[in-house]
Symmetry: D2
Subunit: 425 residues, 4 copies
């Protein structure tokens, strides 16, 4: 195809109207599962069957999960499916076996962001009536398009003479780098020989395909909670153990972790707070922050320094600190053998006007967990970029995709999957 | 009297049921004015007529004010009076002229605190059915008793052969040290020759009178709002101007303002926060804090240092900062000539078992603005402590007063006012 | 006497020409001992016999001690005496027993400061030819006068009908608050019933006597030495463990130790340094600092916080820190019973024109160790101030004393000692 | 040649025995000029004639310069030449014109380091008797070899049929990145069409030639001097303006300058200090530090942030700060057209066993000023690495070069100069 078929368009718009954040993708998963059930699949793993259920990161509290579950039901999601996702175990995996051949995976992510979508009349979802119906949440990074590509590529492979096994991973919780690890550790990646992942946009225009994206910054999100003791700031300042002083000492020194000669590192104290009132020595404070590195080792270097700084800043002011990891992703590299195949296919795909061998993401992504699992098992992995003219930047309230570019992505991915099954590079 | 009359008891309990914070004392002021209208007053100044209306500190936003105004109406406050308080100009001044004599003032404060009152069955307001009806707010510092003492003392003076002028100042906004300055600058203090202020409790037991309280820490509450520029913490950290780094540098250095040889100083960054998300360089942050000093000069010393630190911390990280004063009170000293009279009266007052010459507050209070205005004009001022066995500490959710101690306070204050009018010390 | 006798004048000027710092008072001690040997003493304890030799603080290195020892010999100090002071065990104690009576102590300090004395022709030691012959060192705090008073008071008591035991403590190392502890723990204070200590000047003019000085700030001097690891700042910044970052974090937070409601506290990072070259990540750094408190408890509060901050600042940057106490003194209070006697005597002493009951030192002094030892043993102690018109402030290069005021001090001290022996207050 | 001739060996060892730091290369320059005078030069520019004399960075004080000048004379340097270098204007430029052809430059640096040379018997300069005679200083970076290569290459070109102009730049003050700017701005680079610079070692073994070195970090050395006001830390802490607090705030925040997405940056507070005594609030402090960047723009980014931080840290503690640039170098890139020629020549040079196309310096070098000047004028520049088995690392006390590798360097450089004159690439 070259123009996106109406069925896929409707499907993408339905997801766009129902954006759901990490571990709350009830409606989204249910809609995907409903579609998949109509296909001739070998296996379909839903929710807890598609994930490792141990040590999930950044799980919202029960009330929050229940509220989104309820919203999904109200919006018409299949109650039986929603039941299977209970506790926020979202996402699913579709498997088709077609004769003798390698196991090939395609990973797409499905979650949305806490951004209020633009009401501008020029914003296409507004103009065409599929603006977010979850006020304050939005598909501002194209994961609605990704889920659609996953479905489209599955259909294209099913329609072909593909010989092998295809697994499509509909992964939850990418935006908080919390879902990738759970899916990577589900066991379903263990026999995958070749893995593709995909992203739209990334400042690449419509018609451009990036064959292999690299430059993933390994990342760790953390939440540090400091606890001291309150005191009346006028009457008994010495009785306080000041959690805000501890927090400030930590912030100052976090940003001052030494630069590393092996490559870029990052650190940010992105959301902080503490104390209760002007005249009370603050008992509590927190830092929600992150560290990153161009390699997994560099991120670990930053993480170790951050832990030590947080711990000693607490101790410095006689406070306690609890540091929890809220999200995580390693670095990864696309294998040239796979991206070469993507380049070949893209070169002869309608709608592709420019083929770029490789580009850097310059950010973080937890597809890397899945890529790493496959590569550690001796397989190959490749992260493909599908250009699209997005009016607003990623994570802004006017982000949108050109829907026909979804069709281009489907053609490239399905073509590459087919070729890989044939050639086993 | 020696036991509190039922009318006063009911009045106090009515106020206790309707606690209202700074600039939102609509019901409280209305109830006081309703009572005062029944007295034979020379003058009654209400709301904006009782205050300087310029440069009010810490005024809530309009919606917040409107909500409390509405609550007051719903609770049955006289709509005409509430109208006169529009915009949050709360408080009032009662004036009685009785022949030739000095002008004597009595200042009582009327506002409440953002504390949720205990539901413990042993807590008297629970047991006797007058627990706060404003969830999350409470008279946890006895200002309901103070307002009642103001009314009681006025009645006692009216009942006596007092010769002179008595002004009773029902002051709003003490808890945020925001109301004292406005009332002090209203002009109504300018002709006051002698001023009394009063506080219950302060860890002095029932039966104890403190003739003159000193040791008021001069104080300034400030709100510093930092503004920088956001950036993606992974992709473009250098484009950020980090308001959280500015805040942290300020906090570290605020607490490090040099100690002063002339006396105690204090500083606290009591409530702080900043940033929006883990991966965004923080654009905004704030510090709600305070500085104090044993004298007004010491508080100014701290305040100047704090301003310079906040300003240069912002500049250090290429941010802007706006520093606003949210509350303020100078230091003050009780005049011995007045406290001597209080001691004399207290010594022969029923219910008084212990007379203490003086004690230190060790905290802050904006009655000092009124005291200072009177003293600067050549008059005398005295801050009187009326002991009461309070089960919980001040500003805790089980604070309460022994109501009969209100009667003791009324006797001492009215007696002292009468004696001062006679003796003009 | 009323004018200082020439012998004492010469003695004082000899000491003034040979100023010696802590644990290096070889010439000074030798000259005192030479003088004492000419008196009819019961006992004379020199050097290690006058001190506890355990855990001496702030002892210079051997080469430094040897150099001063050599200078003393060259200046004509008795070699036998200098031998007994070997290792820098300086100072001495003179004891006279005269029949039945209490044991009374007089403590004077004898060390000098690392200050280069003024060469101004108006500076009396220049004009009269007794300027310091130890370039860079100076008696800028009057300890030359104190030693002379000790000798003079001893002589005056010997000349009187005094009945009891007098011990004169010539204490080394006061300026670094290092000598007092050693002398206090020597055992020689254990039987002292009454102790006097004395200081000239302190901004009190000639003719003024302060009967009992209080307000000694308890103090601890510390040296914190940080050790990390060096690295090339351009090529391998991550390999450094930055001792200067640790030092900076410590400094920021030391000054921010919470103020204490019980009284004044102090902290200072007075001499700091670190690193070797612009392009090397600093391996080493140090802080020479101090904490003080109005009471011994307050100084301990500061000291505990300082230790914790130094330790965690080191840990924060993966460094080690070694914190050593270099000097120490507790707080103390003059006993009113003794200062009353000083007041009585001063009131009838020639040359005294003003008697001040008490005054605050507002600084630190390790006479307090001796005072505390006596007071802990049930005795009384009193620190006396002898006014003098000093042209420059204490610890400045133009400090000097009016020599006749030494005679006034001797009369007051000897008189008080005599009276105390009679009255046993 | 292939083995270094004795004359060059003697020359190199003479320089090695007389290591001289930045702006103090009196003996070194004199010896070079003496040699050059024996050649048939077209021009010889010495000292101030070889440099821009404006805004020299990091000039030692007069006494220091005079002392080194005197040492040079005593060691037998030609007094007339030393006179021409008066004031520390060291270095020289040799010019030979040989018919029609391009202007080709060769830059070698001549200064030494403040490192005490090893006395180990295995250290060749010890074993062969040419250890440093300037205690505490050492040619620990091979600039003695560089100067010798400059002379050798000049001789080789003079011996050839070279047609064109050759300028050999004997540059002072590289180690403090202070001399390059002055020579670059002398005017003598303005007509240079091709420039070579050279460095031995850099962890490349004997026999290896690096044709074009890149990866120069742009750098700025700065000295920040803070000035506040002293005060007695016990008696009057509030009167101090604490230069050590300002320094500590600056250090904390310097290291926390945001990382930059465009490439590596560096910052170091390498040598810091402040204060005078434990009990004095510090009046003065300083930071000797540096910032670097992979590009000149990145170094400027760091420099601007550093300046702002230093300024506002001073202001924060009511201090003044003076920030001076003590050394500076931009980044630069070797031109491929020149390094290709170096590769060609090296490939056929005796003694060369390995030719490396390019490598990163990963440090800073002020040859970049000269390279930039030539490149800005439309010329080409290339920085060549000549491998040598150096036993100790650069800037360590056992650094040394294999002297025959100097001969290899001479052959490669002279060969490349000759070829460039022919081919004008």
């Amino acid at each position: 195809m070259h123009t996106l078929d109406d069925a896929y368009r409707e499907f993408r718009r339905d997801l766009h109207r129902h954006p759901e954040p990490t571990w709350r993708e009830f409606y989204t998963t249910a809609r995907i599962v409903e579609e998949l059930r109509e296909r001739d699949l070998t296996d379909l793993y839903v929710g807890p069957d598609a994930l490792s259920t141990e040590d999930r990161m950044n799980v919202p509290d029960e009330a929050e999960i229940a509220a989104w579950e309820e919203r999904a039901r109200e919006a018409g999601a299949d109650p039986g499916i929603v039941d299977r996702l209970s506790g926020g175990y979202t996402g699913c995996i579709a498997v088709v076996e077609r004769g003798d051949g390698p196991v090939i995976g395609l990973r797409v992510d499905i979650d949305a962001l806490p951004i209020r979508e633009s009401e501008d009349a020029d914003h296409v979802p507004v103009a065409e009536g599929f603006r977010s119906e979850r006020e304050g949440y939005m598909h501002a990074c194209g994961h609605d398009a990704h889920a659609t590509m996953g479905l489209g590529a599955l259909d294209a492979v099913l329609d072909s003479d593909f010989a092998g096994t295809l697994k499509v991973f509909f992964q939850p919780g990418e935006e908080q780098v919390a879902g990738g690890k759970q899916m990577a550790e589900s066991g379903h990646l263990d026999d995958v020989d070749y893995l593709f992942a995909v992203h739209v946009g990334l400042d690449h225009p419509s018609g451009e395909i990036v064959c292999g994206i690299d430059g993933f910054l390994a990342v760790r999100h953390f939440l540090a909670e400091f606890e001291g003791a309150p005191a009346h700031a006028g009457a008994r300042p010495e009785e306080g153990r000041n959690a805000v002083q501890a927090m400030a000492a930590a912030i100052q020194n976090l940003y001052a972790i030494p630069r590393h000669a092996d490559g870029p590192t990052r650190v940010n104290a992105g959301l902080v707070g503490g104390g209760t009132a002007t005249n009370i020595v603050p008992e509590e404070s927190f830092i929600e922050g992150e560290v990153r590195g161009a390699t997994t080792e560099l991120a670990e270097y930053m993480s170790e320094h951050a832990d030590r700084i947080l711990e000693s800043a607490a101790e410095m002011h006689d406070c306690e600190v609890d540091v929890a990891t809220k999200g995580e992703a390693p670095s990864a590299t696309s294998d040239a053998a796979l991206s070469a195949i993507v380049g070949e296919i893209a070169g002869s795909t309608d709608g592709v006007t420019n083929v770029v061998e490789s580009a850097d993401l310059g950010g973080s992504e937890d597809a890397t967990f899945l890529m790493q699992t496959v590569q550690d098992g001796g397989g190959l992995a490749c992260y493909v970029g599908v250009g699209t003219d997005h009016p607003g930047g990623h994570h802004t309230n006017t982000f949108d995709v050109v829907e026909d570019d979804i069709a281009v992505g489907v053609d490239v991915l399905a073509g590459a999957i087919h070729r890989v099954a044939e050639t086993r590079p």
